[in-house]
Symmetry: C2
Subunit: 410 residues, 2 copies
C-alpha cells in the first residue's frame, strides 16, 4: 500500500461531470490498494467570477482589500472539495473534505501570496488511518491566529507538493490537461517527445524559459523536500513525466529539452559609465516597478571610451513601464546614456543536466542555428541551460533545427 497525493486543476473539475470523472479516478486509485489525498482547485471560471464580484462591490475607487480577497477566493476551492467528497460518498466511498485550515496548513500573513510555514498533518493521518479518502482544498491556508490566506499563482500545486512532503507520501501526481513535459512544444516541433524522467533543476530551467507546465515555486519546494512527483493528464492513463532528483542515467542525456518564449523585448542601455553600482541602480529601478527581467547581458568595454552597454529582456508589454522606470536614473549613471528598446524577439533555450559533463553543447547549438540562417542576438548560460535570443519570426525554425541537432525526437 502506497500513500499517494493527487492534484486536480480547475479544468479537471470544471463541471459536475468532470468532478464525477475525477472522483472515479480517485476511487480507482484507492481500490488499487492505496491511501489517497486529493488536492483540488476551484472549478474553472469560478475564481474569475469572484474577482468580478469583488470589482463590482468595490467600484473603481479602490482595489479590494487583500485580506478579504483571500476570504472570498478560498470559497472556490471549498466548493470543489465539498462537491468532490459528496460525489465520492454517493459512489459508496468514505471521503472527507478538508479546507486548508482544517488540514493544518499554516502560512505567513502575506495575503493573496502567502508562504506555507508549517503543516500539522495529524488530522490528515487520522482520517486516512480511518479508511477515508481526504479531499483537500488547494491554494489556501490560515495564519497562526486564524486568518484565511491564499498562496497565489500555482498555489494548488504547492499545496499538493507540500502536503506530500508533510505526510511523507510515496508519490505525488499533478493532473493537468497535458500528457507531461515534452522535449519541445509539440505545436512547434511536430516530433517532440514526452519526457519520462526529468530532474528538478531541468524542470526549473524549462519553466523559467517558457515551458509553463508548473510554476517554478512548486518545483523548488519539491526539490527542497525531495518530493518525487508526476505531471500527467487527467484525460487518459498515460504515465506522464516523473520529476525527481537527478540520477546517473539522467546525466547520460546531454539535452533534455528545448524551450521557447515569444513576445520578448530587448532593452539596451548604451554608453553606461563603467563604475560600481551602476547595474544596481538600473535593476533596482526595474524591480521597484515590478517588471520581471530575464536575461541580462553586459560586456565590459575594452575600448578606450570606458563605457559599456547593458541589455536585458522583458515581456514586450513591459517596454513602456521599463522606459518610465529607467528615465529618472539615466542621468545618475552617466552623460549621454540612452535607452533603446525593441520587441519582435524570442528566446530559445536548451536544457539538460548532462551538459555539465559534456563540452561543445553551445558550439553545436550555435552551428545548428547558423546552418539554418538564424542570427543570434544575445547569449546567456547557466550550468545546465544555454539561452539565446533570435528574431521572433524565426523562433519555430530555430526550435526545430536545435531539436533535431540534439536528436531529441528519438
Amino acid at each position: 500500500m502506497s500513500l499517494i497525493v493527487q492534484k486536480y486543476g480547475g479544468t479537471s473539475v470544471g463541471t459536475p461531470e468532470r468532478i464525477r470523472n475525477v472522483a472515479k479516478r480517485i476511487l480507482e486509485t484507492q481500490q488499487a490498494g492505496h491511501q489517497v489525498v486529493a488536492v483540488v482547485s476551484a472549478m474553472s471560471g469560478v475564481t474569475n467570477k469572484l474577482i468580478e464580484l469583488a470589482a463590482a462591490v468595490t467600484g473603481e475607487e479602490a482595489d479590494p482589500t487583500e485580506r478579504e480577497m483571500d476570504v472570498l477566493l478560498s470559497t472556490g476551492e471549498q466548493t470543489t472539495i465539498a462537491l468532490t467528497a459528496m460525489c465520492l460518498n454517493s459512489m459508496g466511498s468514505k471521503a472527507v473534505s478538508l479546507t486548508g485550515a482544517q488540514a493544518g496548513i499554516t502560512t505567513d500573513g502575506v495575503h493573496t501570496k502567502a508562504r506555507i510555514s508549517t503543516i500539522s498533518p495529524e488530522e490528515v493521518h487520522r482520517l486516512l488511518d480511518d479508511g477515508n479518502i481526504v479531499i483537500l482544498a488547494g491554494f489556501q491556508g490560515q495564519t497562526p491566529d486564524g486568518k484565511i490566506t491564499t498562496l497565489g499563482r500555482g498555489g494548488s500545486d504547492l499545496t499538493a507538493i507540500a502536503m506530500a512532503a508533510a505526510i511523507d507520501a510515496d508519490l505525488c501526481q499533478i493532473y493537468t490537461d497535458v500528457d507531461g513535459v515534452y522535449t519541445c512544444d509539440p505545436r512547434v516541433v511536430k516530433d517532440a517527445q514526452k519526457i519520462d524522467e526529468i530532474s528538478y533543476d531541468e524542470m526549473l530551467e524549462m519553466a523559467s524559459s517558457g515551458t509553463k507546465v508548473m510554476q517554478s515555486r512548486s518545483v523548488e519546494f519539491a526539490k527542497k523536500f525531495g518530493v518525487v512527483f508526476q505531471v500527467r493528464s487527467s484525460l487518459n492513463n498515460n504515465p506522464g513525466t516523473t520529476v525527481r532528483e537527478e540520477t546517473m542515467s539522467m546525466e547520460s542525456v546531454v539535452i533534455r529539452g528545448v524551450s521557447l518564449e515569444r513576445e520578448q523585448a530587448k532593452v539596451t542601455i548604451t554608453s553606461v559609465g563603467d563604475q560600481p553600482g551602476t547595474a544596481g541602480k538600473i535593476f533596482g529601478a526595474i524591480s521597484d516597478a515590478n517588471i520581471n527581467v530575464d536575461m541580462i547581458v553586459q560586456n565590459v568595454s575594452v575600448s578606450k571610451c570606458d563605457t559599456t552597454d547593458i541589455s536585458f529582456t522583458v515581456h514586450k508589454n513591459d517596454i513602456a513601464k521599463a522606459e518610465a522606470a529607467l528615465a529618472p536614473v539615466l542621468s545618475e549613471i552617466g552623460d549621454g546614456v540612452k535607452v533603446e528598446a525593441r520587441d519582435g524577439i524570442a528566446k530559445l533555450s536548451v536544457v539538460g543536466i548532462g551538459m555539465k559533463s559534456h563540452s561543445g553543447v553551445a558550439a553545436e547549438m550555435f552551428a545548428a542555428l547558423s546552418s539554418a540562417g538564424v542570427n543570434i542576438e544575445m547569449i546567456s548560460t547557466s550550468e545546465i541551460k544555454i539561452t539565446v535570443t533570435v528574431a521572433e519570426d524565426q523562433i519555430e525554425e530555430a526550435a526545430n533545427v536545435v531539436h533535431s541537432a540534439f536528436n531529441l525526437a528519438q
Copy 2:
C-alpha cells in the same frame, strides 16, 4: 455609544449594488456613533445554485452527505462577508469579515441543522475595540473538533440573536424586505397597521399561525436570553417592530394581531375507541412520517357507543402521506375506525397577551365571524391565542371582520 447587531438577509445582499447599499447603511450606523456587528446571509439564489451543483455531482442514487453539504453551503455566506467587508474597506472604513468558526460560534455536530452550543466572543470584542466593523457570516458555526456546520432554516437570524446575546448588544436589528410585523397581512386586510411593539410570546404565536417574518426558533432564543430585537426593512428608514419581553402597557392591548394560514387540510379519525394510548399511536405514526401537525381537537364521547373522533390539521400537500402513515395503525385502535381527510380549509388566529386578563375575547371573535356568515369548524386555544378553522374561500372575509371587531386598524 451603543453596540448594535444587524442582520441582512439574502435579498438585501442579492446583487453587488445591494451589497453597496447595505454597506452604506452599516457605515451610517457606525458614523452615528455605534459599534456594529453585521450578520449577512448568502446572496439570494446562491444557495439554490449550490444545491443544484450538489445534486448534479451526486446524481439520483444518493442524497449529498450532510457533512459535505455544510462545507458547500457555508461558502455562500463566506462569499457575502468578504464582499461586504471589502466594500466597506473601499469606502474608507475599517471592516473585517469573520466566518462562524472565526467568530467563535461552536455548535453540536448535527449537520445541516446544528444547534449553537457556545459562543466565545473574544475575537469579535477585540476587533470592535480596535475600531472595526465586524461582518459576520450567518447560518454557520463549527463543532469543537473543527467541522463546519450550518444551522438550518432561519439560521442567519439565529446567528444575529445569539451573537447579540453573547456580546451583550444593546440592540439587534433584523433587516428584511417588509416594514415589520403587521396586525394582519396587508394584502388581505387593507387597513392593517404595523405593530410598534410586540412580546416574544405574541411573536411566537403569530409565527406559528402563519405570519412568517421569522422562524420561531430565533424568537425562542431571543426570549430565553432576553435579546431585544427589531424587525425592519432594509429598503427604508422606518423604525420597524420591536420584539421584547412583555410590559404593562402591552397588556392593555387585548389583541395584537390576526394571522391566517391557507392551504390547510383537516384529517379526522372517526369511531376511535376511547382507550389510553390511542392518541399516542396516531400521532407517533404521523410524526414518524415527518408530517407537521398543527391543531389537534378531540372530544371524548358522551354517548353510549364509547367512541370518539380525533381531528387535526396538516398542510394539504401532506394528506396522502398522512393517510399512508395512518393505515397500519387503524386496525390497532379499534374496529370500524376510518380516516377522512378534506382540504379547502384555512386557519385564522387572534393573538394577544392582553387576552390573559380579558374575558370574552373568544365570544367576540365567534360573534364577529357569525355575523359575517362564516362557519367555524374547529376551535383551539392557548393562553394568548384563539385559532379557528374556516372554509378557505371565506378566510379573507373572516380576517377582515375579526380585524375590525378588535379595532386593530386604529
